[in-house]
């Protein structure tokens, strides 16, 4: 509330970028890129999400505490993903306990 008002141009530019990125991600999905399809789609999604967070949710100008909270949330989701997926990924790497 103490922030200066954001010009409409900025919001419109972000809006335009988000639409463009959406079109891009649909277009890229039609190409045969193997595993890169997933990487591309996720990268674009992350960029879009970042634009919304930074500009529409104004985290760009927010307090350090707000940024810390956003970071913590993402970090905690990462904990869930990394540890669960590492279990599935590493099944069979090491032998299980033997009874003899």
């Amino acid at each position: 509330m103490t922030h200066p008002v954001v010009p409409i141009k900025t919001y419109a530019a972000v809006f335009g970028a988000l639409l463009a990125l959406t079109i891009t991600t649909v277009a890229v999905s039609k190409l045969e890129l193997g595993e890169f399809n997933f990487v591309a789609a996720m990268t674009i999604a992350v960029i879009k999400g970042t634009l919304v967070v930074m500009f529409f949710m104004d985290v760009r100008r927010a307090t350090s505490l707000t940024k810390l909270i956003v970071g913590a949330g993402l970090f905690w989701m990462a904990i869930l993903f990394v540890f669960v997926l590492s279990d599935y990924a590493s099944r069979g790497w090491l032998p299980g306990p033997r009874w003899f």
């Binding site: 540890f83 669960v84 279990d87 032998p95 306990p97």
Partner: protein
Amino acid sequence: MSTYLPFARTEARTNYLNADYGWKSWLFTTDHKRIALLYLFSITAFFFVGGAFAVGMRVNLLTPEGIFAHDTYNKLFTMHGIIMVFFFLVPSIPATLGNFLVPLMIGARDLAFPRINLLSWYLYMIGGAIALTAIVKGGVDTGWTFYAPFSSTYSNTHVILTAIGVFVSGFSSILTGLNFIVTIHTMRAPGMTWGRLPLFVWGHYATSLIQVLGTPVIAITLVLLGLERVLHAGIFDPAVGGDPVLFQHLFWFYSHPAVYIMILPGMAVISEIIPCFSRKALFGYTFVAISSIAIAVLGFLVWGHHLFVAGQSMYASMVFSLLSFLVAVPSAIKVFNWTATMYKGSVSYETPMLYAFGFIGLFTIGGLTGLFLATLAIDVHVTDTYFVIAHFHYIMVGGMVMAYLGGIHFWFPKISGRMYPEGWARFAALIVFVGFNLTFFPQFILGYQGMPRRYAHYPPEFQVLNVMSTAGASILAVGYLLPIIYLGWAWRKGPKAPQNPWNAKGLEWEQSPTPPPTYNFETQPVVTEPAYNYSGESEEVGIG
């Protein structure tokens, strides 16, 4: 500077208890102190419901053949676990003592969101009512851990209804945590820096972090479980392509940090009691504060130790085992600091301090046995035996419940304006300690010798220890009933308490009347000294 009024004034002074009368003034209150009392009564009621199931279990275990059918016994231990975990332990200290004391301790007039606080209580009651309905309709038999595919496909008990009850009460927990986090960040009185916060507040802050970050995951897990029970799409059912271990991952991602939700507030209470009854500042304030946060963070990285024999990869198990060792470190740091606080202090043995002593000893035993369980090779032998049961009961009951009782006694004068009878209270504490150890120590031996948990019948060679355990439980029950009686009596008929009967440091004792007025303070406190300033030193320049 502490102000010490020798006696509270007579009822002419308006405090939060007599500020308004009538059921509406209680059920529609937004005063955090009244909400704390609403919680206190409902949580106590659930404690005895959960205890009743325990009584059923222990009576059944008096003989190898038992008296209940297997299915009934399954329901007994399931309901005991669900009620105790979700409707007693998780809310206990935060919703009662936390709600009452956090604003007082930081010099605020209320929590940041008083109406959300009231909503929390209603959600708790609604969730509890739903769970009780499920019980009345026949209960659940899946174990409080709701493992799939039994819970999702094969059990024919009221899984969905119970899950809804837990889901709703989970939101109560989330909102309480949210309230505390915001309050502690934004509503500290002038001069109340983070470095001067009572460790009770630090402990509740750490607890709130876990509540906010962990509870949503069990919420969604229960949603998926409920949907699966209806649709049988197979998300957790191996017969149709699902993975039951995924359920366990998602379940324990919350439920392990949940045990830290349960213990951190207990540690927070101990951190207040020990300095007061040692007449000495808490040793290693910074270490204890950081340890609370460390426990909250590290607690999220260890849940796989519940999946050691579930089919989790060996690699992941080793990582979780190592991290489980690490998470013991901050707890140990706290125990060392509490002990160091007492060293060369002027220790007295009022009831809160007796419970604190009990806590330190029993929590240490429970915590150390946790290390045994974190050791992969040992866990393979003792997992799903009574060793695990003894381990977590030492921490939850020997630790947490004792801390809860200690805190109730410590702040009883502040909350009620009356003193409790010290003789009876010490006697009850002793009964609790003896009863507790007689109940649960034999279970370590039972587990080590191989008696599995959740079994209605057992081989005859285990009977002696089981009988000891049940005998201990009956003593423990007496120990829990006694405070209900004498605290209930003292609330009405006890001698009026002075503002600060323990001569304790802290804004809630020194600057708020006993009992507090609705808005807690006559004038907003300004903090100029460090926490636990029992030696009366002024703060060194540059700290805090």
